[in-house]
């Protein structure tokens, strides 16, 4: 039963919450509202002027290439999510169940290290590895294969996405799997479940929330990434983040770029909320 003080405004709790609320207001809600407002502005002589017109929405929504780019971006981000989730799971499972606590701590530390280096630098280093005269093709040529074109392809884009997201997904999955109640696993095994069946019926459902959060992070990062599709995918064809850059570069159409940004935000919110709802869904 709640007391009167708990029911009313708790000043102490509110004080500690205020920084987060202000941060969200200043750095998320405020810019988001401005971006939405900007979609109705117009550009005259390279200068943005305040207006309330639907021209930018009509223009962008009516362009076939916008929708091509939209579905391409959703497709690539989904593929990246599935790939990262599948690649990360065996590694996370091993770290969570098969190694000592000390080894797990070191592994997580090494997974964090890539974030110390600029993502752009890490992306450019793939040039040396994936180029037709690069490391992989040189090695393949020793056994009579290749050269294969890997840069400026969707494969290149996917390599970039993995560079960005895979370490994070492994970390999130590892933390999630490490918190699975071991007694449930032992019970499953005592009841005769084999290894695969235990993973499918006990471990994955128990770690579902963490696994889905890892996948959602991967989708969000891939969906909004400019670097991988531009530098490793050759901008061929462009994804939505590249379209934002292109739109702002050509004619300084910030309002049209804002339309693309708002569509991206709505997509991400739908994906994130749907995923969270699914994660916490009770059977």
């Amino acid at each position: 039963m709640k007391t009167g003080a708990q029911k009313g405004l708790d000043g102490y709790a509110l004080t500690w919450r205020l920084p987060v609320i202000f941060w969200q207001l200043f750095f998320f809600v405020g810019p988001l509202l401005f971006t939405i407002a900007m979609t109705f502005f117009l550009v005259k002589n390279y200068r943005m002027t305040e207006a309330f017109e639907m021209k930018n929405w009509v223009k962008m929504m009516g362009k076939g290439y916008f929708w091509d780019s939209y579905f391409l971006t959703v497709g690539l981000a989904s593929l990246s999510t599935v790939t990262a989730t599948c690649l990360a799971f065996p590694a996370a499972y091993t770290l969570a169940f098969k190694v000592s606590d000390n080894a797990r701590r070191w592994a997580v530390f090494f997974l964090i290290i890539p974030f110390f280096t600029s993502y752009l630098v890490r992306t450019f280093s793939w040039y040396v590895i994936l180029a037709e005269s690069g490391v992989i093709n040189n090695m393949l040529s020793w056994i009579g294969f290749g050269p294969y074109t890997m840069l400026n392809t969707k494969f290149g884009t996917m390599v970039g996405y993995m560079t960005l997201t895979l370490p994070l997904v492994v970390i999130l999955q590892t933390l999630s799997l490490a918190n699975v109640d071991r007694r449930l696993i032992e019970a499953a095994q005592n009841l005769g479940a084999n290894g695969i069946w235990t993973i499918v019926k006990v471990i994955i459902p128990s770690a579902k929330v963490g696994l889905i959060i890892g996948a959602v992070f991967c989708f969000i990062l891939s969906f909004g990434d400019f670097v991988a599709p531009y530098y490793l995918g050759g901008s061929k064809p462009p994804t939505l983040p590249i379209m934002i850059i292109d739109t702002t570069k050509s004619g300084q159409q910030w309002p049209r770029a804002a339309v693309v940004a708002v569509v991206m935000m709505v997509t991400l919110m739908v994906v994130a909320f749907a995923s969270i709802k699914f994660a916490y869904r009770k059977k």
């Binding site: 390279y46 200068r47 531009y230 050759g234 901008s235 570069k249 004619g251 300084q252």
Partner: protein, 379 residues
């Protein structure tokens, strides 16, 4: 007691003097330093123009410090100026075709033609470059230029093949043709390939524009990527792209010096000239210093630095500059055709009618060209 008080007072005065002096020292040092601080000049330019290899000598001689803000493309430049208060940029390096827009928007100051060595310019057109004069008043002066055509890997495309834009459609180059990611040069080249040399590849009617779009779309299967400045360098250097549309010696010249097997030529259908001109920003309080810098860049010493700029080379615009370049670096002068009688002499190419000044679309809007470029990239 009094003696002790005197002692304390003296001690206090002594210690407070030391403390005050110590506290005041940074102010004194700052004041002295301030008088020696270089004057800061805000520059808006393409990448490389405010780097030490270009400006260091002028900075040292005149106690100034350039603070560059770099852009890529005339649209980007216009927007940066439009979004800044008057007087933000003291000096603006503009693409020649955008000077007119700068002037119409009132972003640049009038110049005094007597300040510059127009008598020494290599070509009459350069002294009266389109858009640089208005109602008999000068607003900008050309400082360097370059030619765009077919850029190619010499191991995969022969010099004969490179003499026509047709080489971009060569079956062996499937997926190996790159684009510099800016619509004006690439679409200009496609326009030239379609025979729209006169009056200008950028001055075409509706039906010619439709054909340019058709021709460009037919190239799409050959295209391996669309690249920015760094990506263009990398893809040509590591052999990912074997031919590049929309660039010229300003990229391959740098790679050639590094030993990459690449080159650029002006094909038989003609090439496009990029032109860079200096303007003084409206409301600049350092106009006199900036004017001095423009004079320096047009002097033989400045022209040599411009011609050998580390970021990307450009041709000299004055005879004095060409002579100084030949004296300083004959190899570079010969490589770029800046010697008497060279087949690729830039002035000779212009006089032969093979070069067309890059321009903004005359009969369509920039937006039309931009839209098509986006469609093309997504095709």
């Amino acid at each position: 007691m009094t003696e002790q008080t005197d002692l304390l007072r003296r001690k206090f005065i002594k210690q407070s003097t030391i403390v005050s002096s110590a506290l005041a020292m940074p102010m004194i040092l700052t004041t002295n330093k301030a008088s020696a601080d270089p004057v800061e000049i805000n520059m808006l330019a393409w990448y490389g123009h405010g780097e030490p290899d270009v400006v260091s000598a002028f900075e040292a001689e005149n106690n100034v410090k350039f603070k560059p803000k770099y852009y890529a493309g005339g649209d980007n430049m216009m927007a940066l100026i439009a979004q800044s208060p008057p007087g933000t940029y003291d000096i603006i390096l503009s693409d020649g075709e955008f000077v007119q827009q700068l002037n119409e928007a009132g972003y640049i100051e009038e110049l005094n033609a007597d300040d510059y060595p127009f008598d020494d310019f290599l070509f009459e057109d350069f002294t009266k470059f389109p858009g640089h004069w208005k109602d008999g008043k000068l607003f900008s002066t050309m400082v360097r230029f370059g030619h765009l055509g077919v850029s190619y890997n010499k191991n995969h495309v022969t010099a004969e093949e490179a003499m026509s834009y047709q080489c971009f459609w060569k079956p062996e180059l499937l997926g190996k043709v790159g684009h510099f990611d800016w619509h004006l040069p690439s679409l200009g080249m496609m326009s030239l390939y379609n025979g729209n040399a006169k009056p200008s590849p950028f001055d075409i009617d509706g039906s010619a524009w439709d054909k340019v779009q058709e021709t460009t779309m037919s190239l799409r299967p050959q295209v391996g990527g669309f690249f920015d400045y760094g990506g263009t360098f990398n893809s040509l250097k590591n052999g990912e792209m074997l031919a590049m549309c929309g660039i010229g010696d300003w990229i391959t010249g740098v790679l050639e010096k590094d030993g990459a097997p690449v080159a650029s030529v002006v094909p038989k259908e003609g090439g496009i000239q990029w032109t860079e001109s200096y303007c003084i920003g409206k409301g600049s309080e350092k106009a006199a210093l900036v004017n001095k810098f423009i004079q320096y860049m047009l002097s033989p010493a400045g022209q040599v630095r411009s011609a050998q700029m580390a970021a990307y080379p450009g041709f000299c615009v004055t005879q004095g500059g060409v002579s100084a370049l030949q004296a300083a670096n004959m190899v570079e002068a010969e490589r770029t055709g800046q010697v008497e009688g060279a087949v690729n002499n830039p002035i000779r190419l212009i006089e032969e009618g093979r070069i067309h000044y890059r321009d903004i679309p005359q009969q369509q809007s920039l937006e039309d060209w931009n839209d098509f470029w986006s469609e093309y990239k997504n095709a």
